[in-house]
Amino acid sequence: MIPPLLFERTGQVTVILQTPVEAVPLDVWTLFNAVLTLVGAYLLAQLVRFGLSALAERSPTRRVTIKLFIPIVSFIFYATAVYIVLGPLLQLSATQLLAVSGLLGAAIGFGLKDLFAGVIGGVLLITERTYRVGDKVELGTDYGEVTGIGLRATTLQTADDTQITVPNATLFTDAVANANDGSPEMLVVVPVSVAPDADLERAKQIMREALVTSQYVYVDDDHPIAIRIDDQTYYRTVRGKAYVADLRDEFAFKSDVAERVLTAFEREGIETPSLPPPDLDRR
């Protein structure tokens, strides 16, 4: 029988030689078990994803909170499966561990840097909750609703129903703008421009009434309505700010309010800006 540790003194240095770990045979049965474990984790993750998504859609007020658990549970399932599969295989000796670490470091450094950064970003997203599934976020130049947070990338659904996959590493390089931060309500700004000589008071009143009469609006003490005026060189912009009850109604709300405001402006003769004359002195 081989003793567990061998000590060999050579001059000033004591070298500790670890016994070889009993290897797990890499046979068909082992591979089958590994695949079975990974498939099981995938099926469980999909089942939980389906169940939580269905539950979330039935409760508009708690949709974002419920969906928050989807990536967390998926991560736990996959991490457990990977541990079960690789745990017995990677019982490495110190020398082997050193060699593997070196190789891993080189691989990450040269080829898998982005993937690794994405994975770290994914872990940070899950732990720090920078944004959650269901949030409306701007990642780099992309804006949309977060429909999935994976270990490597985040999926966004844009206003024109396009699915965009954004690497989680974006978290380290770009600013992340979260429009609702886990809340189902969301502030929406509706800008409508008027001519410089238009009746601003009347324009503000129309904007306000268009906001509060929309079927999508949400108003209470914590979610007030505001009207702001931006004075530009050739026009003025009336900005209506109000919350929608469900962030998915953001674009429907903007369209609804803008349409009714413009209709009322036209009816009341409130002019929208025309282009500046070509010979305008721009000094």
Binding site: P60, A210, A245, A264
Partner: protein, 329 residues
């Protein structure tokens, strides 16, 4: 009885409110109302309540006790009826939620009346739909215009039972023949936004035993479905009249309603107004009125009478739940 399939029109009988005194309807707010009737206080008062919950009963009592002039507003009201009668002694105004329409330029009559009320020191008792009131308070802080506000309270099972029985024409509570008995009956169990139909073996249902017990169980279900709203409760019971009834038979109209966003908004407008102009409703919702209202009418949720559309009393629980789920202000 198959109450789900029964699309007959529901109604609220005025007589059902006769057995309920105003003190019960207003609960803790009655003291304020009583002091107004005793002329210890004056100024505008808002009586706020859900559709068909007994606001009119409160306003009628105020009219009698104050010997006041009475005005009832309907769809399209411009407020002139209120302004013309303001300042000449006590005034009772019902249907104040008709003073606005949910559209651009739809608030002018309301603002005119609120401005006039702010300068009045005589007694003015106004009736408001609670959904409309909540909306107006959120966007215009309408409650600030009323130094006194009282709300219609949900009634308990006993009060509802007494009121409906006093009005007569109550259902026959009988156990059905064994051959007609279903194996299971569905009971909705609600928690927050969720409602899950729980199948209960009929054997348990029959364990209610005597007819009196069965009646109590039915009225408990009526109170629960109607959320203590007497008018709605009466409409629910009227749908069961002359039949053998189980608690599970007490279901609101449109319990299996599946509607789109426009229909949901139309329902919200009707929950807040109870009665609306067909053309105005279509204009606000922005859809063609025929398909939208026709579908709601087929489901029995609304009644169309000429140019007027009204919310069915027995559909109030469904409509309210639908609107709340959609979080429409």
């Amino acid at each position: 009885m198959d109450s789900n399939g029964d699309r007959k029109q529901s109604s609220v009988r005025d007589a059902v409110f006769g057995a309920v005194d105003v003190e019960t309807l207003l609960g803790a707010g009655y003291d304020q109302f009583a002091s107004l009737l005793a002329r210890e206080q004056s100024g505008p008062m808002a009586v706020v309540g859900p559709p068909y919950s007994g606001r009119e009963r409160v306003l009628d009592v105020a009219t009698d006790r104050l010997d006041a002039r009475s005005v009832r507003l309907g769809p399209g009201a411009d407020g002139s009826a209120v302004l013309d009668n303001l300042g000449d002694g006590p005034l009772i105004v019902g249907g104040c939620h008709h003073l606005y329409e949910r559209r651009v330029d739809g608030f002018d009559p309301l603002m005119t009346v609120l401005d006039a009320l702010s300068e009045v020191d005589t007694t003015v008792v106004t009736g408001w739909n609670s959904t409309a009131w909540a909306y107006l308070d959120a966007i215009w802080s309408v409650e600030r215009s009323f130094p006194m506000t009282v709300e219609i309270q949900p009634l308990d099972t006993e009060t509802i039972t007494i009121a409906i029985e006093a009005a007569g024409d109550v259902p026959t509570y009988r156990r059905p023949d064994p051959g007609d008995r279903p194996l299971f009956r569905s009971y909705p169990i609600g928690w927050r936004d969720y409602e899950i139909p729980i199948p209960i073996p009929d054997r348990l249902v029959r364990s209610f035993g005597t007819e009196t017990d069965a009646q109590a169980a039915v009225f408990q279900q009526v109170q629960s479905v109607a959320n203590g709203n007497l008018g709605v409760a009466d409409a629910l019971v009227q749908r069961l009249s002359g039949e053998q009834v189980y608690p599970g038979d007490v279901t609101p109209i449109g319990a299996d309603l599946d509607i789109d966003a426009d229909e949901r908004f139309a329902l919200r407008l009707l929950v807040g107004s109870e009665l609306a102009d067909r053309s105005t409703l279509a204009e606000i919702v922005g859809s063609r009125p025929e398909p939208l209202l026709g579908r709601l009418a087929r489901e029995g949720v609304v009644t169309i009478d000429g140019d007027h559309v009204s919310l069915e009393p027995a559909a109030v629980p469904t409509a309210t739940a639908t609107v709340n789920r959609g979080r429409i202000l």
